[in-house]
Symmetry: C2
Subunit: 340 residues, 2 copies
């Protein structure tokens, strides 16, 4: 487990490594959230069958993962249920079919996109739900509405977190104001999210310190959610751990939108907490997740590199990857640089 080799005041001095207690030990506060189903669902409109959901669930339980995100809590008035699979909505009855009463230590989370959720009606009281954690995903201009979502979820008995999206395009004074507002909300965890997969490790360090300063003063923790456009999803997660992030998002085989996320099989190999196990993750990768790659093209590829590098939403790269000419990287390069 990294994070305690004392890189905050690192100097070229052998004492850095000699003080290796943290390196061979672990930080019990660190928690893993598997979002394979939720972020992976962005690649197939959340059309997973129950067998797939159950396999991910079993793998998370066996691997000692702390939270599993099963999907979105979207408003059926805004999204046609015929167009999307059940994990766009996460009805209690659908979850129950797969998880039963979830008599395990694995907590269940859902994501609620601000302005896409009928949060007053669709957030049930905690005691009526299999959900433990509601994660509110918000753009910077939606923060006041996000805080209403957070309050509603908090008041109904849930753990809460907030993901501020697309911060690589946000001015710093706006981000500071958002963090201040969230610090004053009842949210439990504030997530640093690299939506476009465009952040380098120095930027993750800088932002993580900013988030931690705001969150810790209010008794909250900070999480990290990365994308792999620049092959930095895992590395940036480690950097966030070193700085002090305690909630870590990861997905099996890195499955997720576009270039995907921090791979859970890497993270469970890195963290030293005895509760985590890597083998069940690799088994699930092999038997359940990897076979989907024939049709769902997630993972690092040149077009995602380019949108990440240019700090752009990956949608143009995703569209390109779905096209017949998806190996003509030079064409995509020329298009994306012309449009810039």
């Amino acid at each position: 487990m990294g994070g305690t080799m004392n890189s905050k005041d690192n100097q070229p001095d052998a004492s850095i490594v000699k003080d290796s207690k943290g390196w061979v030990s672990y930080r019990p506060e660190l928690k893993i959230l598997d979002c394979t189903i939720r972020d992976g669902g962005l690649m197939n409109d959340h059309k997973f069958d129950n067998k797939f959901i159950k396999a991910i669930y079993d793998a998370c339980v066996d691997a000692g993962v702390d939270y599993m995100e099963i999907g979105y809590k979207c408003d059926r008035k805004l999204f046609t249920p015929t167009q999307y699979g059940p994990w766009k909505f996460c009805d209690e009855s659908d979850m129950k079919k797969v998880l039963g009463e979830n008599e395990t230590d694995l907590k269940i989370s859902v994501m609620a996109d601000v302005e896409r959720t009928d949060y007053k009606n669709d957030f049930l009281k905690k005691e009526e739900s299999l959900i433990d954690l509601i994660r509110v995903a918000t753009y910077i201009h939606q923060i006041p509405t996000a805080i209403e979502y957070i309050k509603e979820a908090h008041d109904k008995g849930y753990e809460t977190s907030v993901n501020i999206m697309a911060i690589s395009t946000v001015q710093e004074w706006e981000l500071d104001a958002a963090l201040e507002a969230l610090a004053n909300s009842p949210v439990d965890t504030i997530y640093l999210v690299d939506s476009f997969g465009s952040l380098y490790q120095e930027q993750v360090s800088y932002l993580m310190r900013k988030y931690l300063k705001a969150a810790n003063a209010a008794g909250k923790q900070v999480g990290i959610h990365t994308h792999n456009n620049l092959q930095l999803a895992y590395s940036n997660t480690i950097t966030a751990i070193i700085e002090g992030a305690n909630m870590l998002d990861a997905t099996i085989d890195g499955m997720g939108r576009g270039s995907g996320n921090c791979p859970l099989e890497l993270l469970t190999g890195f963290l030293h907490n005895p509760k985590y196990h890597q083998r069940p993750v690799i088994k699930c990768l092999q038997e359940t997740v990897r076979p989907l790659r024939k049709n769902l093209l997630w993972g690092y590829e040149v077009p995602y590199l380019l949108t990440g590098q240019l700090n752009l939403h990956p949608r143009s790269a995703m569209k390109f990857m779905e096209s017949a000419e998806n190996q003509d990287y030079v064409k995509f390069y020329d298009t994306v640089f012309q449009e810039e």
Copy 2:
């Protein structure tokens, strides 16, 4: 270009990023060495045709790369020329067929493995050779012989570098002694090499400072050569840049032994020196390198993750990847953990 956001004394203070001169500028001392042909040749016994070599060469010239490594300088008495392609030996006549007189700014390097090279005979005088840089690859127990190689190459007029291999299995006092001996040699560049792809960023930082301390005091520079077992090849290269490494190894499409190396298409997108261009790299990736992946299975995959994580040579993972059951990752997991 990273490296000057002042992470050496980083504090949670906005001044870190506000001092962004280095971030938007560049460090002119940074040089790129493309080793696609040399490290990639470990996947096919160096059997590349001249068209391939020429395409990589043209891409390097167009991309502004500083050095291109064309292969090994191995002893024909030790390696049968029928078993290996010409780039295991790099005869002047073979190089000349492709490069002509190399009337470009691109410098040519070869690697000389200690105890595998007839260095007194096969290192010609510089004026008789297309080679500019001889890179001596050595294990820790071969350092005295490596220094003989270095002296021979230096005296014959070449630039020289040394790659100390497999340092993740070397005791620190031995490494310190090796660095001291090399600092007293005529070598120009000492390379930090992550042979097994097992190093995390904190370890790269620590080791890079150690190497720099020894090298800089002797007026030498330090280089970095990474492998992608843990998806950290690019990230570790950035970390090395931040610490002060000035010679950066990379390969097109990350082509290299096992999990491969730091991808040149990522590195040329990261460095801000106007001399570097990314488009020729992407073009060569698309037209020349990627097509080889049908037969040569380089790149990140679960078995390489596991040998990297366990700090093992990748040979067992390479053998597994060449077998018919190369998608039974659980079987490899069980094998490698039993053997540990």
